[in-house]
Symmetry: C2
Subunit: 415 residues, 2 copies
């Protein structure tokens, strides 16, 4: 036995390391990516729908025109031209921003990480929807924060739940550092905060001096009309806004941004320089050209048409195959549906049986910091064809039916 | 007056924010990049020497062959094929590594940040050469560590100085979390740790159970023969090794790596997933193709020939123009020369006068955590032509001579 797998470093790690655990989604990837498995566990946009030849020409032009700059170091805040161009994109959602207030990041994930590092001391409290984005939980937990979930329904975060959460904190003599929310086509829940709720949530936040971090990766991935305007379009103070090109262009570029008030932006800049110096100049320039030289809004329509068909296929298959007692959300956009198993079933315990039947999903527990989500699961509809999705749901329905039978047998027969 | 520049968030920031300050190098960039200024303050490799047409063709092939994968999310550890290919590159320096033990990062800077987050609690002690890489100071200070500098001479880190530093800590009842070192063509000092010193440093570290973090971005940027093998080639336990393609290919790809024992690698993986999910799949694939489809070793020779001429031009100009009392290092590779002003001069105070004379450099204080470096400066030779370098040094020598005169006048005339 070689000694190299022993941990010689125990006792040398920083205390924050102990709060970090592998996300359940990551652990799943190797099994779920086997070709015989229909994976509803993914989260990748369907990048195969991008015009690769046109992109090849764009990169060739880019390198011949500005190759030396794009391949060198760039300012920590990122390219001014790209930031200006992104302000134009934000304007489409009603957000008025100055290029000065944007910080470009290695995907929106890094925006979350920089905000966590800027605002969170160990033990600090963060409010978030339950369930919420697993990567946000990872970033907040790496900063040793304590995430408290707030209730959500088909209309998004419940204002009364936020009020109660804040009142509970007040009784404890505590204060939340911020509210983290994904109002539109939420990951994983697939629900959208209504117009009225947005105004209510903002009013509550203002009354309590609560900072809001709005994560908005999906609002352009929309199937049934335009979603309500982002929180940041309604209030420019008190809302820090995160965006990304991962869903409208390509996640592999790792290009996101944080829109923050000047004082916060300055802290984020220091944090990004300490962590990566600057995001890739090459992927910044490619994004700039995607937004200025290519028909990017047409490309987003291509994605949306494709995803709408697949969402419809997933919804239809759920309706056709799933046994009584199973429920799910009906997203107007984004990449995910959130499903809840019949009472007494456990999505995590069921997963090995699902994989045996060659279908994968993400169990719900990964999307909560507090152990909730055992009856829930996330189903993705962006990576598989409509036919594969239907077949996957057929397999999954068989597994659910089997678990219901098992439950009823061991419960002494509920039938 | 608009309220938006006021800091509404004071009192809400994490305590680590207070340790973060803008690097002096970053602050300089805007002034130093004016066209009339000869900037010896840069740190960019000369990316204009890359074959842009060939790279354009490479990106076109890449996108048509594996575009969908390269533009999607990838595993947090990075592409297996690239990690295997990098193991081949490491072997050229005598390092035997398994692809499993490499974690790909957004430049080597992110490797430093991940290591800081993995090992450093507030108040922890890090040992480092004085001066040292400004980005390492940034990462360690963001983790609220206490950096203690160790003496260095023309042969690199001084073993007796390391012994003394360790003894001093022992007397305080403290322990260093690790030694951070750039043994080859050190940034900013331009010196290289000799063969014998490497063995001595490793022996001391082993005796004291001191973990070493070896940062090795420059060892292939070599002008006068091959440098001594890296520490990691001599000891596979107790040394964590950082590399990057920033100098052999392009910094704008933001592609680096950490080679670490499995236990540490696992922590780094958790940390990278929490901070960026994964590095760019596109720049990973481009790097793989640079290393497998292009004549990359030939490209490194192109860089080295170019930089050697420029280093020689800088050394010659320093010898020709600089007044008595000025000293500098003679690097065998890398991008930088470290110069020391005559006694009583101050490189930071002198900078405005230098900029007025249209020449820029980086004052030495930025490379120390303890306020040292006031007589020192870093001079870069990778970004300017030999002619521009000569002209820059001529201007700088005039400024130094002026400051000497000023000093002598105010000191009552030393002449």
């Amino acid at each position: 036995m070689s000694g190299t797998t022993l941990d010689d470093y125990t006792g040398r790690y920083a205390s924050r390391v102990h709060g970090m655990a592998q996300s359940e989604i990551r652990a799943l990837f190797s099994v779920a990516s086997r070709p015989e498995v229909v994976s509803l566990a993914g989260g990748n946009p369907y990048t195969a729908a991008l015009p690769m030849d046109e992109l090849g020409e764009m990169f060739t032009r880019l390198l011949s025109q500005v190759g030396a700059e794009a391949l060198g170091y760039c300012p920590g805040q990122g390219s001014v031209a790209l930031r200006e161009s992104l302000c134009g994109v934000l304007e489409l959602s009603g957000i008025r921003a100055s290029a000065d207030d944007l910080v470009l990041t290695t995907g929106a994930q890094q925006g979350l990480d920089l905000l966590a590092r800027t605002f969170l001391d160990p033990g600090d409290i963060v409010l978030a929807e339950g369930p919420t984005y697993v990567g946000a939980l990872g970033a907040f937990q790496a900063a040793q924060a304590d995430v408290r979930h707030l209730p959500m329904d088909d209309d998004g975060l419940v204002p009364a739940g936020l009020e109660e959460g804040l009142a509970a904190l007040e009784r404890e003599g505590r204060r939340a550092k911020f509210l983290y929310t994904i109002p539109t086509y939420q990951n994983p829940a697939g629900v959208t905060m209504t117009e009225d709720r947005r105004e209510e949530i903002l009013a509550i936040a203002e009354r309590h001096g609560l900072l809001i971090i709005e994560d908005d990766p999906y609002s352009m991935i929309s199937f049934d009309g335009t979603p309500p305007a982002p929180l940041r379009a309604r209030a420019d103070r008190g809302v820090i806004y995160l965006g990304t090109v991962s869903k409208i262009f390509a996640a592999g570029l790792r290009l996101g941004w944080v829109l923050a008030p000047p004082a916060v932006r300055d802290k984020l800049l220091l944090a990004i320089e300490a962590s990566i110096l600057c995001p890739s100049g090459l992927t910044q320039e490619a994004t700039l050209r995607f937004l200025t030289e290519m028909e990017w809004r047409q490309q987003v329509k291509v994605f949306n048409t494709l995803y709408r068909d697949r969402r419809d296929a997933l919804l239809a298959a759920l309706g056709d195959y799933m046994p009584e007692g199973m429920t799910w959300t009906v997203p107007g956009g984004g990449l995910f549906i959130w499903a809840t198993l019949p009472d007494g079933l456990d999505s995590k315990a069921m997963l090995p049986r699902a994989l045996q039947e060659r279908v994968a999903y993400v169990p719900g527990t990964g999307f909560y910091a507090d152990g909730n989500g055992r009856r829930e699961m996330r189903l993705n509809f962006s990576t598989q064809t409509a036919e594969a999705i239907r077949e996957g749901v057929r397999r999954l329905a068989g597994v659910v039916a089997g678990d219901i039978e098992l439950r009823d047998t061991f419960a002494g027969g509920a039938a």
